[in-house]
C-alpha cells in the first residue's frame, strides 16, 4: 500500500513538473500569438514563412492560432474591446476596430518602403483622423467577381457572354444553360451585403450622399435589389443559398459550385486556390469580367490585413515580424503560393511568379487584374469606410426578408435605412 502511495505521489509530481520543464526554454524567447483564419492554403504557407522567421530570430516564437472565420468576425471584437486581444490577428473588417490597432511606425526599419508600396491600402486600416501611420499589412487584396462553370456552357452549346455583358445578359445565359442541362442553380451570389454592393454600384448605387454621409438606399441599389428579388422568384437564383439561413449570417455557395450545381457563382478572387483543390479536374472553371450596368462594370475591392493590437507587450518584435513579412521576397512568395492578388505596388509592376500551372488559374488571375482596373471609385470609397458593415448587414437581412415573403421590397428598403441609422447612432456617428 505504502509503495502504491509513494509511486502515485511521485507520478503526480512528475506530471506537474513536466509542463514547467517544457515551458522553461520558451520563457527565454518572446512569444507572439496570431489569431488567423484561412480560406484555403494561406495558413500553411504562413506557418512555413514563420518557421523561417523563427530560425533567423531564435529569440522570437510565433504561435499561429488557426480559428474559423466566424471567430474573427464575432468573437475577436469582444476580446479586443475587453483588452484581451491577441498580439496580432488577420482581419477582414479592416477599419471597424482600427482604434485598437498598434501604430507600427516606430518599430519599422524603413517606413518609406511601406508608404511607397502600400500607399493605396494603408488608409483602410488607419483609425479615424489618422493620415500617416502604418497600422497593418494587407495579407491579401481581393476583388468580388463571378466565377463560371465553363464546362456547363460548352455542354449546353451556349456561348459565354462577353466582357461587356450586363447582369441581365448573364442571368439569361445562365438560366438557359441550367434549363438545358437540368442544373439546380443558374446564379448563386454569396449571402453578403459586400457581394451585392459591386453589382449595385454598376447599376448606379452611390452608398454616400453628395456631402459624404452614408446613404444606403438609392435608385441604383433599388434596381439591383429588385433584380435579385426577381431572380429568386423566377428561378435564376435558388433560395437554397439566401433562404437557407436567417439574420446576418454569411452563406457561401462554394460547395454547390464545386459540386457542379452552379452555372455562375458571384463570389471573389479568394476562391481560386480553393477551387483548384476542390474542383480539380472535375470541370473547367474560371473567373470572368464583372458584369456591367449603366454606371460601371464594378465589383468590390476588399481583403484581409494582419494587424497588431495596442495591448501587446511586444511591439518591437511585432515590428520585426511585420518587416519580414512585408519584405519583397517573402511577400511575393506568400502571394505566389496562395494565388492571392497583391496590394504591393512594386510587385504589381514586377509581376508575381504565381504557382499557376493550370489554365483556369491564369485566366482567372487575368480577369481579376482587369476587374481591379475597372473598379468604380464608389467601390473604393465604400471599402475605405470604416463602418461599411453597418450598411452591408441591413442590406442582407432586409433583402432576405423580402425574398422570404415576410415584407415587401419597399418595406425592406425603408427598414434598411432605419437599421443603418440605428447602427450609426449606436456607433456614435452624428
Amino acid at each position: 500500500m505504502k509503495t502504491f502511495f509513494r509511486r502515485t505521489i511521485m507520478a503526480g509530481a512528475a506530471m506537474l513538473a513536466l509542463p514547467l520543464l517544457a515551458a522553461a526554454p520558451a520563457d527565454a524567447a518572446t512569444e507572439l500569438r496570431i489569431m488567423w483564419y484561412s480560406d484555403a492554403n494561406e495558413g500553411d504557407v504562413m506557418r512555413d514563412l514563420l518557421d523561417r522567421f523563427e530560425k533567423a530570430n531564435p529569440d522570437i516564437k510565433v504561435a499561429l492560432d488557426r480559428v474559423p472565420y466566424k471567430t474573427i468576425t464575432d468573437n475577436l471584437p469582444a476580446l479586443v474591446s475587453s483588452g484581451q486581444a491577441p498580439d496580432m490577428a488577420r482581419v477582414t473588417d479592416l477599419g471597424g476596430q482600427s482604434s485598437y490597432y498598434l501604430n507600427l511606425t516606430p518599430y519599422l526599419k524603413d517606413k518609406a518602403y511601406w508608404d511607397v508600396n502600400f500607399k493605396d491600402v494603408l488608409p483602410w486600416v488607419r483609425p479615424p483622423g489618422e493620415t500617416d501611420g502604418v497600422y497593418g499589412l494587407m495579407t491579401q487584396l481581393t476583388i468580388t467577381m463571378p466565377i463560371v462553370n465553363e464546362t456547363l456552357f460548352q455542354q449546353a452549346g451556349i456561348p459565354l457572354p462577353g466582357p461587356t455583358a450586363t447582369w441581365d445578359d448573364w442571368a439569361k445565359a445562365a438560366k438557359a444553360v441550367a434549363t438545358k442541362l437540368n442544373v439546380p442553380i443558374p446564379i448563386a451570389i454569396d449571402r453578403s451585403g459586400h457581394r451585392i454592393a459591386g453589382p449595385a454600384i454598376s447599376y448606379g448605387a452611390k452608398f454616400f450622399s453628395p456631402d459624404g454621409q452614408p446613404a444606403l438606399v438609392d435608385a441604383g441599389l433599388k434596381t439591383m435589389a429588385t433584380k435579385i428579388y426577381g431572380w429568386h422568384n423566377d428561378g435564376v437564383m435558388s433560395k437554397a443559398i439566401w433562404g437557407s439561413v436567417g439574420g446576418a449570417a454569411y452563406r457561401g455557395a462554394n460547395e454547390e459550385f464545386s459540386n457542379g450545381q452552379v452555372v455562375l457563382y458571384m463570389s471573389g478572387s479568394w476562391q481560386f486556390a480553393q477551387f483548384v483543390k476542390t474542383v480539380g479536374d472535375g470541370f473547367d472553371w474560371h473567373g470572368v469580367a464583372n458584369p456591367c450596368g449603366p454606371a460601371s462594370c464594378s465589383g468590390m475591392p476588399g481583403g484581409a490585413a494582419l494587424v497588431a493590437y495596442k495591448t501587446s507587450k511586444h511591439p518591437a518584435e511585432i515590428g520585426k515580424l511585420m518587416d519580414y513579412l512585408a519584405s519583397e521576397p517573402v511577400y511575393s512568395e506568400f502571394h505566389a503560393r496562395t494565388l492571392f492578388l497583391t496590394a504591393h505596388k512594386g510587385l504589381m509592376a514586377k509581376g508575381i511568379p504565381y504557382a499557376a500551372d493550370k489554365p483556369q488559374i491564369k485566366k482567372s488571375l487575368d480577369a481579376a487584374f482587369a476587374n481591379v482596373k475597372a473598379l468604380s471609385p464608389v467601390a473604393y470609397q465604400l471599402q475605405g469606410y470604416r463602418l461599411n458593415r453597418v450598411l452591408f448587414t441591413p442590406l442582407t437581412v432586409r433583402l432576405n426578408q423580402a425574398i422570404s415573403g415576410e415584407m415587401t421590397l419597399d418595406d425592406a428598403f425603408a427598414r434598411m435605412t432605419q437599421d443603418m441609422q440605428d447602427g450609426l447612432k449606436a456607433a456614435g456617428v452624428k
Binding site: G246, G247, G428
Partner: protein, 318 residues
C-alpha cells in the same frame, strides 16, 4: 489511514470554529457555493441591468453613457402590438412572436409525448431497458451534433428528400419554406430533449405505490379512470417540474436551431435568444444595450410565467 486523513481535514475547521463560533459555521460551508453563484449569476445579472440602461458600443461598463429606460422604450415602441410591422424594432417582435408559437407547440408536444412514452416505458415489456436508453440517447448529444444530423436529413439534397425522390415523390423545401422550417425546429427540439423529461416522469411513475393500482384492479376500475384518478394526481409534482423546465428551455432555444436553420428562411425561425445574440454580437456595431434590455424583458416574462405555474401546481396539490 482514514483517521489520519480526517485529522488532516479537521484541523482547519476546528480552528475556524474556535475563531468564529459554532453558530457561524454554516455560513463557512455555504460560502464557496455563494461565491460561485455571486460571480457567475448575480454579478452578470447586475452587469446586464447596467448595460440595459446605458448606450454606445463600448464594452467596459464605466465607458457607457447612462440612458435610463431608453432601450426599453425603443423595444416597446409599437403603434399596434398585433402588427409586428408597426413596431420600431420589428425584428425583436418577430422573434417574440416566433418564440411564443414555438413555446406553445414545443412544450405541449413534448409534455404529451414524454408522458405517453414514460407510461409505456413503465410497463413490463421486453427490451424495456434498451428502449429507455434509446429515448434518452439524444439528450447525451451535443446540440451542434443534433443540428448537423438533422441538417443532413432535411437539406434540399438530404436523406429525406433522397428517399422521397427514390419513391417517385418530389423534393420538399424542409428548410427553405417558413412553415416547414418552423415545424422541423419543433420536431428536432422535442427529439433532442424529450428523453430528459421522460426520465423525470418515469421516476415519478415508479414512486407511485403499487398497492393503489392493486386496489383499483380489485375494484375493477377501468384503465382510463386509473390513469386520471391515480396516476395523474400523483404525478402532478413531476409534471409541474417538467412543465416549468420545458417552458424555460423552450424560451431559451438557440444552439441547435441556430445551427439547423440560422433563424431562416427570413426570420421564420429566429427566436428571442438569437435576436439577443445577433444584436449584441453579430453585427459590426454591437448594440449591447438593446440586447440587454431585451434579455431583461424576456427574463421578467419567464419569471412571471414560472411563478404562475408554481402557484397553479401548489393549488392543484392542495
Amino acid at each position: 489511514m482514514r483517521a489520519a486523513l480526517a485529522r488532516l481535514i479537521d484541523w482547519p475547521f476546528e480552528a475556524l470554529q474556535r475563531a468564529l463560533g459554532a453558530a457561524r459555521m454554516p455560513y463557512v460551508f455555504v460560502l464557496p457555493n455563494l461565491l460561485v453563484f455571486g460571480i457567475f449569476v448575480v454579478l452578470p445579472m447586475l452587469l446586464n441591468i447596467w448595460y440595459a440602461t446605458t448606450s454606445g458600443v463600448e464594452l467596459m461598463p464605466e465607458q457607457r453613457p447612462f440612458t435610463g429606460l431608453a432601450n426599453f422604450s425603443e423595444l416597446l415602441d409599437c403603434s399596434n402590438y398585433l402588427n409586428v410591422a408597426s413596431c420600431r424594432q420589428d425584428r425583436f417582435w418577430r422573434a417574440v412572436d416566433n418564440t411564443l408559437w414555438f413555446v406553445a407547440f414545443q412544450v405541449v408536444t413534448m409534455v404529451a409525448l414524454s408522458l405517453i412514452t414514460a407510461v409505456v416505458l413503465n410497463r413490463k415489456m421486453p427490451l424495456r431497458g434498451f428502449f429507455r436508453a434509446v429515448f434518452f440517447y439524444p439528450v447525451l448529444l451535443s446540440p451542434v451534433v443534433v443540428a448537423l444530423i438533422w441538417k443532413w436529413i432535411l437539406q434540399p439534397d438530404g436523406v429525406l428528400n433522397a428517399i422521397l425522390v427514390a419513391n417517385g415523390g418530389q423534393r420538399l423545401p424542409f428548410l427553405l419554406d417558413s412553415d416547414w422550417s418552423f415545424t422541423w425546429t419543433v420536431v428536432v427540439s422535442v427529439w433532442a430533449h424529450m428523453g430528459f423529461y421522460v426520465l423525470i416522469l418515469l421516476a415519478g411513475l415508479q414512486a407511485i405505490p403499487p398497492d393503489l393500482y392493486e386496489a383499483a384492479a380489485m375494484d375493477g376500475t377501468p384503465q382510463w379512470r386509473v390513469f386520471w384518478r391515480i396516476t395523474m394526481p400523483l404525478l402532478m409534482p413531476n409534471m409541474a417540474v417538467v412543465l416549468v423546465l420545458g417552458l424555460i428551455r423552450a424560451v431559451q432555444a438557440f444552439d441547435e436551431i441556430y445551427v439547423l436553420t440560422g433563424g431562416g428562411p427570413g426570420t421564420a425561425t429566429q427566436y428571442i435568444v438569437q435576436y439577443i445574440y445577433e444584436t449584441a454580437f453579430a453585427g459590426q456595431v454591437h448594440i449591447m444595450g438593446l440586447a440587454a434590455a431585451a434579455s431583461m424583458l424576456v427574463g421578467g416574462v419567464l419569471l412571471v410565467l414560472t411563478l404562475l405555474q408554481l402557484l397553479a401546481s401548489a393549488r392543484a396539490k392542495q
